[in-house]
Symmetry: C2
Subunit: 117 residues, 2 copies
């Protein structure tokens, strides 16, 4: 089951095939930073704040704010003020975002399955 041992050539081939698949059907494509933010929101346990994401990615806060603007317009995430401390913004998942991430996972495993070994 699910053993994950890759050799470099296979790892690179997997990455190539996934990026090629992502580019070909032109969906709203994300930058690497946006992808990292989105995956962190959907894989790491909540709550997610702007400063927390900035620390996790080791980037400045405006990077997070802008990425949330963009992905919010895409309906991939949503923002809500923390009622317990109104300085905080809590980033929440959306149905569309969950579907996007799920589909992306399917692309990866599909490309991994089709790897010539």
């Amino acid at each position: 089951m699910m053993s994950v041992s890759l050799r470099p050539a296979e790892a690179l081939r997997l990455w190539q095939n996934v990026t090629l698949a992502e580019i070909k059907d032109d969906r709203p494509d994300l930058t690497m930073r946006q992808a990292a933010i989105l995956l962190t929101i959907y894989l790491d346990p909540p709550p997610h704040t702007v400063r927390g994401l900035a620390a996790r990615l080791n980037v400045a806060k405006p990077v997070i704010t802008r990425a949330l603007d963009t992905m919010g317009a895409m309906k991939l995430v949503s923002r809500h003020r923390d009622p317990r401390d109104r300085r905080n913004v809590l980033v929440r998942r959306t149905v569309e975002g969950a579907l996007f991430v799920e589909r992306f996972g399917d692309v990866i495993i599909e490309q991994a399955r089709d790897l010539p070994l």
Copy 2:
């Protein structure tokens, strides 16, 4: 050895960790298209032409030209006129590019090895 069977959650976690690792040590980061082009040059058998890469990625030719400009300035690839048909441009690998790709492969397998299963 090298079996590649991933479940969606693990595949996504792998992608997250690799993107996080790439972002944190700020190296010359590539767009997804640039990454796909670079990997295609280094993984697919040569020769590589502009139109060939454009067809492989299903994008317009100027996209390839501009990506080669950028990655050429980074010394990751080099361009040479085809002496047999001087309309063609042959894209060749460089030492720096090979090291870049190799290191990227190492990052992937390292993150795959550290996956909590």
